[in-house]
Each structure stands twice: as structure tokens, then as C-alpha cells.
């Protein structure tokens, strides 16, 4: 393997790897704009120029592959490549590229949404000049709506063409192109063919400056007011990694988080805008249906009602339960445990969730049609107990304990019959929807972006779901409510003080999860046992 030296760092790297990728992987910073690890290399921004010994011309580190030299040609007898990223020539070249990039840039950072996370801002500060020698008038262009909620501010654009390459290589739709030539270059869409694909929002994520903006986010907050929570999207079974940016317990945007084991670098727009779906009709206290209208009750009253209803409908033996693939493993595990303890025969089914077609994009990005984000985990947690829904409405049907489907519940014939057969339905939910309306009692629990625990994607990757929002009103964590219900119905004290405790219990109970604990998962997750 070639041995290279970048400034003072010696690195052993794979021959053929590109210098910039190698440096970034080693934690070294080489400023760059047009390079993106998931896109093809163009080498056009000229920001990542470095000096390589033996090459008179500065090289773009993004495009130079590392190769092995024959022994007699090695530099200092051992190096295959000696790279300087801070030499006088490189520092000067970088300054000048930045000067060029800022010639027509409006420097409107105070009103720019990218400010604070802008590579033009950062690199100008670190490597650029304080003053420009450009005294001519700056070029001014109007903003344009590109479609799919993406707006372009041409004045801030540095023509890195990441967005163009994204629509061609990742989305495969190719709506964006470079219009005109040279100085008149601009990113554009063809006449009457707007940006229109389910991955469109990513162009704003990968834009290194404030040129491509999401209408949904524009001028809503400042970057430094946001708290960034690394989490996982539960809108489908792909389990894409996201960063949830919130301020004052309100989500302002969701951006992708890199995880090569899951989504790679991107997310889809369904996930990106998912938070907008859950803003309305949040349930903040237990609700009891009294003569077709909801009455707010306390938790104590709610639990008392459940206890009374269970007794009135023939006891725990007639209990029915619906686990939900939108809830984490912990909640479903506890629900399964409850059923296992209280009921003798199998009386738990999975809540049916709306299903669509899978979508796969040219570079392999996929959106699963199965909108039950934790389908696999839920199945793993409840495998021993689950039955088909139609068996649940046979015999004496007692209290039905159900987890909600976040508005994605497919209320099919079986569910309909079950709801009709159930004398008293308790649904754990965060938002009002068609399914929760059928309840007799709603217990407010953590909703999307408030839940905590593990979820397992359709490829067996277990990831930690980090809550980005605090609970509102009287709502409690979903796992905790199920644990309390268990305590209520079995009389056994709950041992769990946090979701991680339940995760540990799962690792003790289910073989495939034996190595999964909260802290082992980290930010990238871990595959269940038996999967490579």
C-alpha cells in the first residue's frame, strides 16, 4: 500500500484512492466546493489545489489518485507522494480562488439562510482576503423558483455544479443544467420542466453556499439558533439517517445525515418534510370519549377507567393488542411482554400500515413503499405472539390496547371488525387521526421526533432514535406508558427507568439483538445478529 505524507501526517492508503478523499477520511481538512463524495469528480472549483512534490503545477486533490512508486523513485526513500496543503503557493492560490468566487457574491450573510454553515463564509474567513480588489459593479440576478420547493439565489451561486450532478447521477431525472456560457453560466431548469423528483430537496443540502434554498425553511430562523439532533427517519422502512434541526421545541428543517450503511448521503422529500404533517392536532392529555365528545382526564383517572373496563370485559384473558410498526422496538417489546403475561393465548397483531410501491434511483437510493418504518423491528419484538388480525375478533373480545399508526394506519376490514368487536378501545397516540377517533380512550404518548428507542430498518440495521422534540402537555414516553399499563394489569413493578433499560432487556431476551445496547449503537447503528 502506498505511503503518503500530507503536511506532517503520514498515511498508508489504498492505491487509486483520490487524494482529497484520503485526506478527509484521515480528518485532514482541504478546502473544497465541487467535490462531493457521492458525486462524480469535476475538479472545477479549483479550491482543493495542493502542491505535490515532483509536479510543477498545483493539482486538484479531488482528482489526483494515489499511486505506488517504484522503490528507487520514492521520495525520501519511502513516500509515494508528498503533499503540501499549506505551502506558500497553495495558500496564495486558495486566496485567489476565493477572491474570484467573491467577485460577484453579494456578501449578504446577514440575511442569508446559509450563514453559519456556509463554506464560502468559512473558507473566506480562514483562507481568504479581507478586501477585494474588484471595484466594478457586481452582477445582479433575480431569484428563481426551480420547483419542488427549491429556490435559487443566483447571486450567491459559485457554479460548483453539485446540484446538476445530483439530479443527473443520483436522482436520474436531470432537471438541472448549466445555462449559457462562461461568465453568464447559471443553474437553471429547462423551460416548463421544473425540478420535480422525490429527492429534490437534497440539492439544498449539498449546496455549499446559500444559493439553493428550501422554501419551507427560508427566513424562518438562524442556523445558530437550531439544536441539531442526529436521528433516524421513520417514514418508511429504509431508515435514513437525518439531522433534525429544531428551536424552541419546533422543527425547522430535517436534513440528511451521512450513513453509508443506511441511506448514504441523501434523504427523500417525504422524510424531509415529514415534520410538517404532525404539527396539527397534538394530543396533550388523556382523552376519554363521553357521548361522542372528548373529555380531558388525568392519567390516574385514565388508568382507573382501563382497569375497570378490563374487569368489566372478562379480565385480562380477553385482552387484545395491536403493535405498531411506527413505534420503536422498546414499546412494541413491552406491549408483547404485557400480552404474554396477561393473556394465555396469542392475541396480538400488527397494525396494518399503508403500503405503496418501492422507488429506486439510478445510484441506488431507495424509498420503501412500506411506510411502517420499524416493520422489521416490530416483527422481531412480537414474533412469538403475533397472529393474523382476523383471529383477534373471534371469541370474547375484551379491551383492545393499540399503538397508533401516525395517520398511516390502513383501516381495513379486519381492523374495522376488531374495532367493532372491542367493547373498549385504548389507543396510545400523539395526534388525532382517523384511527384514534375510533378510540374510547386515548393516552397521549411521544409522537414522531419525540420517540426514543431503537428501530430496525428493512435490512436489519438497528439504529437509535434520538428524540428531537420535548413532550408537550401531559404526554409521556410511549415505552413508559406501556410499562405502566403492564404494571397496572399484572401488578408487577416496572424495572425500567429509561428507554435504554428496555433496550438492554431486549438484548437479554431476543437472540438476534443480543449485542445491541444503546451505547454500542453510536450514530451509525449496528446490524442484528446473523446479518453481515
Amino acid at each position: 500500500m502506498p505511503l503518503i505524507k500530507i503536511d506532517d501526517r503520514e498515511l498508508e492508503v489504498q492505491a487509486g484512492d483520490k487524494l482529497l478523499a484520503v485526506a478527509l477520511a484521515a480528518g485532514l481538512e482541504i478546502p473544497h466546493y465541487c467535490y462531493h463524495p457521492a458525486l462524480s469528480v469535476t475538479g472545477s472549483c479549483r479550491m482543493c489545489l495542493v502542491e505535490i512534490e515532483g509536479m510543477p503545477r498545483l493539482q486538484t486533490s479531488c482528482s489526483v489518485p494515489v499511486s505506488e512508486l517504484p522503490p528507487e523513485k520514492k521520495v525520501d526513500g519511502k513516500f509515494d507522494m508528498v503533499v503540501h496543503t499549506q505551502s506558500e503557493k497553495v495558500v496564495a492560490a486558495r486566496k485567489l480562488v476565493l477572491e474570484f468566487l467573491l467577485l460577484n457574491h453579494p456578501l449578504d450573510c446577514p440575511v442569508c439562510d446559509q450563514a453559519g454553515e456556509c463554506f464560502l463564509q468559512d473558507y473566506s474567513f480562514q483562507h481568504g482576503n479581507a478586501h477585494s480588489r474588484f471595484i466594478e459593479d457586481k452582477r445582479v440576478r433575480a431569484n428563481e423558483d426551480l420547483g419542488s420547493g427549491v429556490v435559487i439565489n443566483h447571486n450567491r451561486c459559485i457554479m460548483c455544479t453539485r446540484c446538476v450532478r445530483f439530479t443527473r447521477e443520483i436522482a436520474g431525472t436531470g432537471e438541472l443544467y448549466v445555462q449559457n456560457r462562461g461568465y453568464n453560466n447559471k443553474i437553471a431548469v429547462f423551460d416548463s420542466v421544473p425540478l420535480d423528483n422525490p429527492l429534490a430537496g437534497n440539492v439544498a443540502d449539498i449546496c455549499p453556499v446559500g444559493a439553493l434554498l428550501l422554501k419551507d425553511y427560508i427566513h424562518t430562523t438562524r442556523f445558530w439558533h437550531l439544536s441539531q439532533t442526529p436521528s433516524v427517519c421513520t417514514e418508511c422502512t429504509a431508515g435514513c439517517n437525518i439531522t433534525v434541526d429544531a428551536a424552541n421545541n419546533k422543527i425547522h428543517r430535517i436534513i440528511s445525515r451521512v450513513n453509508e450503511q443506511a441511506n448514504g448521503h441523501f434523504i427523500c422529500d417525504y422524510g424531509r418534510y415529514a415534520h410538517n404533517k404532525y404539527v396539527e392536532a397534538t394530543i396533550t392529555s388523556p382523552l376519554l370519549k363521553v357521548e361522542d365528545s372528548w373529555k380531558e382526564v388525568s392519567w390516574e383517572e385514565a388508568y382507573q377507567v382501563i382497569k375497570d373496563q378490563v374487569v368489566a370485559t372478562g379480565g385480562g384473558a380477553n385482552l387484545r393488542a395491536l403493535a405498531s410498526p411506527v413505534y420503536p422496538n422498546e414499546t412494541n417489546f413491552l406491549l408483547a411482554n404485557l400480552v404474554d403475561t396477561v393473556v394465555e393465548k396469542k392475541s396480538l397483531a400488527l397494525l396494518p400500515i399503508q403500503n405503496g410501491d418501492d422507488q429506486t434511483f439510478p445510484a441506488g437510493f431507495r424509498i420503501s413503499g412500506d411506510k411502517g418504518g420499524n416493520r422489521r423491528g416490530t416483527e422481531d419484538m412480537t414474533r412469538k405472539l403475533t397472529v393474523k388480525p382476523q383471529t383477534l375478533f373471534r371469541g370474547d373480545v375484551g379491551v383492545l390496547l393499540a399503538l397508533d399508526g401516525d395517520g398511516r394506519t390502513a383501516i381495513d376490514g379486519d381492523v374495522e371488525k376488531l374495532l367493532k368487536a372491542s367493547p373498549f378501545t385504548v389507543i396510545l397516540a400523539s395526534n388525532m387521526n382517523k384511527f384514534t377517533e375510533r378510540a374510547n380512550l386515548i393516552l397521549p404518548v411521544a409522537g414522531p421526533f419525540q420517540r426514543e428507542g431503537t428501530i430496525t430498518n428493512d435490512r436489519g440495521l438497528v439504529q437509535w432514535l434520538e428524540p428531537a422534540l420535548q413532550l408537550t402537555g401531559e404526554a409521556k414516553p410511549d415505552w413508559q406508558v406501556v410499562a405502566e399499563l403492564g404494571q397496572l394489569l399484572t401488578g408487577q413493578a416496572s424495572l425500567y427507568t429509561c428507554a435504554g433499560d428496555v433496550t438492554w432487556k431486549i438484548s437479554q431476551t431476543i437472540a438476534a439483538y443480543s449485542r445491541i445496547t444503546r451505547f454500542k449503537l453510536g450514530k451509525k447503528g449496528q446490524f442484528v445478529q446473523g446479518i453481515k
Binding site: V41, C45, M47, V97, E136, V178, R181, G182, Y183, N185
Partner: protein
């Protein structure tokens, strides 16, 4: 032109010189026939290597060496592209060759194609060359009808098709990787090298891109041998016949054929009739607009071949000689040149996209009498940042993907440096008009 018989332009002006019948009656396609039927790849490449033929598009890369870079054992198809996108200001030789003797060029292509084992070749012709494209189409039709192209040419087992592809009039598509992108139907943005086209070119396959004039030389090399070719001209390191395009302030502008190494003064004064109105010579651009300008006193005894012009601090390039007499306003000339490059910059790389327009904005102010003293050094600095300092010893040395960066910054830099007092006079004297 004593003692030199034109080779490339021998049949120029003869009635019907563009027809196959005329070409065949003058020993046409003999070289191609023998190359296809009797020679193998390595023999052709060896002969061309021996001849020392250098690329006539401007870079002067040895043609035989370029062909030998094509991997022998690659299973991918190989492609030959004839670069007829003659766009360099001051250069107008290729269109002449195509117009008057297209079969000479096609014959060169057949030989080159055989040398690199190519069965599909392209002629990428500049969009404005409508007539030339028709001439080529007609000539290709004649070839297909006479089994010179198509399946089993010259009754051998060798197949070759040639397609004429018209460009859309962008200067940058004359750069070989920009041309390949354009030919693939994409935007003509040059590719980053390596990989070079010889390894990954058209559609990712090994590709050779040669200039029209380079290919026109090939039949003569095969017919007469490499040593014969190397003997033409003053310098065996840079030999062969050459078309000199003389334009600007001369009495008889035009294309002149002579051996490489002809003195520049001979070309300007003897062939082109000297400076118009017998004015004094001020400056000469020797190799197309991308080459740094030479002052009148720098061309004495200058031989026109690749190493000699390079030693004089400029480039032989495409031998597009632009002559400027004493009436020339160098600030305006520089502005004109810079405007061309700003217009043609493809805009892919930051320094070229931003720098070329910055230069013309500064020059525009100059011509309006709004220049500042510091602008002169600023212009020099901007050219450095696009194309790097003029240093021909390294070859391409700029900060951009393709040599366009050098092509704009070196001539502008040379003009500003060499005629600095003229630029300074714009600061002090009142500008009229």
C-alpha cells in the same frame, strides 16, 4: 519559396481538386491502400514516429507517440477524431485543406485509423464551416461508392466508417476533451486529465484526436517514409511542411506553405509582401491568438518551429501569424483579444470564468480613460491566477482544467508587460473616441 515544392497544397487551385477522380489520378489513396493492405499497426506508428510529425493543432505533441498510447489489448472499441473545429483567431489553414483537398485529409484518417485499430472515426467540424462540411460529406460519399470507406476497404478485411459531426460554434470544443464531450452530446466542458483520451476518451473508450493538418501530412509520410519527412525544414526535431496563416497588417494576407523552421521575417516580408503601407512593424503574434505577442525586435532571425518559437518566449501553436503595425493601439488590441476569450470561456473553472470577465471589465475602464495605476499590476496578477506565469518549460502550467486558462492569460500578460508604457499612457492622456 525557392527550392521548396508545396506538399500539402500542391493541388490547390486546380480545377476539380476536391474530387475523388482528381485525387486518384494524382496517386491518391496509394498510401492508404498500402497501409491498409500491407502494413500492420506498429509499422505505421513506427514510420510516423520516425518522421517526427508534431501535432499541428497547436500543442505540437508527436503524432506517432500519441497513437502508440492507445492500449493494444483493450477490448473496447477505439475511436479516431479529426479535429476540424478550427477556432483559434488567426488560424485558417484547416478549412483550406478541407475545401480544396478533402481526400488528402480522409486518406490521413484511414491510415491513422488503421494505426490505432479504429473502425469508426469522426470529423468534428466547426459549426460555421457549412461549406466545408458539405465538401467533406460529398468526398465521403465518393469514398463509400468506391470501396475506400465502409466494409472491406481496398478489398481488405478492414472496415472503417467516417462520420461528419458539426459542432455548434464554441471555441472550447476545439480542446480535445471538450470536443469529446460535445461529440457525446453533452455540454462542451473539458474533462480533467488524467485519464487522457488515449485511455478514456469518446464514450470512455481509447480515442485519438488529431488536427486536420496533422492528418493531411500522414499520407505523404507513408508514401515517402519517415526519414524523408524529417529532412524537411531546418530543424529535424520539428520537421515537415507547414501551413502559415498570415493575417493582420500585411500586404498579402493568406495561407502560405513552407517548411517548418522558415524565418518569420521571410514569411512576413517575402511571402506576405511586407507591412501594409510600408509601415513599421510593431508586434507579431506567432502562433494563433493564444500565443504571447512578440515585439518587432524579437522576431529577427526567429525560425518558425516548435522549439525555436518557444525559446523566444512564445508558442509556435497553429502558426496563425497575426501582424500588427505601428498604428496598432495595443490597449485596444488587448481588449479585443480578452473579449474573445471572456466570451468563449466555458465557465467550468472558477479562475477562468471569473478572471476573464474581470480582465475585460478592467480593460473596458482603461479604454474609457478610467484606468488606475494599480490596475496594470492587478491585470498581471489576475492573468497569473488564471493561467500561471508564462513558463513554457513545463508545458501546461495553469490553474484550470484545460489550457484555455493559459490561452487567455499568456497573451494578455505579454501585451501588458511588453507594452506597459502604452497602458500607462491611457492613465495620463485624454482618451478620445
Amino acid at each position: 519559396m525557392t527550392g521548396y515544392e508545396p506538399i500539402l497544397t500542391k493541388h490547390l487551385g486546380q480545377p476539380g481538386s476536391a474530387t475523388l477522380a482528381y485525387y486518384l489520378s494524382n496517386e491518391g489513396y496509394k498510401a492508404a491502400r498500402s497501409a491498409v493492405r500491407d502494413m500492420d499497426r506498429s509499422q505505421i506508428i513506427q514510420t510516423v514516429k520516425e518522421s517526427g510529425l508534431q501535432g499541428r493543432g497547436g500543442a505540437g505533441f508527436p503524432a506517432g507517440v500519441k497513437w502508440s498510447f492507445i492500449p493494444q489489448n483493450s477490448k473496447k472499441p477505439k475511436y479516431l477524431i479529426n479535429n476540424a473545429d478550427e477556432g483559434e483567431p488567426g488560424t485558417f489553414k484547416d478549412r483550406l485543406l478541407i475545401n480544396h483537398n478533402p481526400h488528402q485529409v480522409i486518406e490521413g484518417m484511414i491510415i491513422a485509423a488503421k494505426a490505432i485499430d479504429c473502425h469508426l472515426a469522426f470529423i468534428y467540424i466547426r459549426g460555421e464551416f457549412v461549406k466545408e462540411a458539405r465538401v467533406l460529406e460529398t468526398a465521403l460519399d465518393e469514398c463509400y461508392n468506391n470501396k475506400i470507406l465502409g466494409k472491406g476497404i481496398f478489398n481488405s478485411k478492414y472496415n472503417l466508417d467516417i462520420i461528419v459531426h458539426r459542432g455548434a460554434g464554441a471555441y472550447i470544443c476545439g480542446e480535445e476533451t471538450g470536443l469529446i464531450e460535445s461529440l457525446e452530446g453533452k455540454r462542451g466542458w473539458p474533462r480533467i486529465k488524467p485519464p487522457f483520451p488515449a485511455i478514456e476518451g469518446y464514450l470512455g473508450c481509447p480515442t485519438v484526436v488529431n488536427n486536420v493538418e496533422t492528418l493531411a501530412n500522414v499520407p505523404h509520410i507513408i508514401a515517402n517514409g519517415g526519414q524523408w519527412f524529417r529532412g524537411i525544414g531546418a530543424n529535424p526535431e520539428s520537421p515537415g511542411p507547414k501551413l502559415y496563416c498570415v493575417s493582420g497588417h500585411v500586404k498579402k494576407p493568406g495561407v502560405y506553405e513552407g517548411p517548418c523552421g522558415t524565418e518569420l521575417t521571410t514569411i512576413i516580408y517575402d511571402w506576405a509582401g511586407g507591412i501594409r503601407d510600408d509601415n513599421k512593424l510593431k508586434a507579431v503574434i506567432p502562433g494563433g491568438s493564444s500565443s504571447p505577442v512578440l515585439k518587432a525586435n524579437e522576431i529577427d532571425g526567429l525560425k518558425m518551429d516548435f522549439p525555436s518559437v518557444q525559446a523566444a518566449g512564445s508558442m509556435f501553436g497553429s502558426a496563425g501569424i497575426i501582424v500588427m503595425d505601428e498604428t496598432t493601439d495595443m490597449v485596444q488590441a488587448c481588449y479585443n483579444l480578452a473579449r474573445f476569450y471572456a466570451h468563449e470561456s466555458c465557465g467550468q473553472c472558477t479562475p477562468c470564468r471569473e478572471g476573464t470577465t474581470w480582465l475585460i471589465k478592467i480593460l473596458d475602464r482603461f479604454t474609457k480613460g478610467q484606468g488606475r495605476q494599480e490596475d496594470i499590476d492587478l491585470m498581471l496578477d489576475v492573468t497569473d491566477n488564471i493561467g500561471g506565469l508564462i513558463d513554457l518549460s513545463y508545458g501546461s502550467f495553469g490553474k484550470t482544467i484545460c489550457p484555455f486558462g493559459e490561452a487567455v492569460s499568456w497573451p494578455v500578460r505579454a501585451m501588458v508587460e511588453k507594452f506597459r508604457p502604452e497602458f500607462e499612457s491611457y492613465l495620463t492622456e485624454k482618451v478620445t473616441g
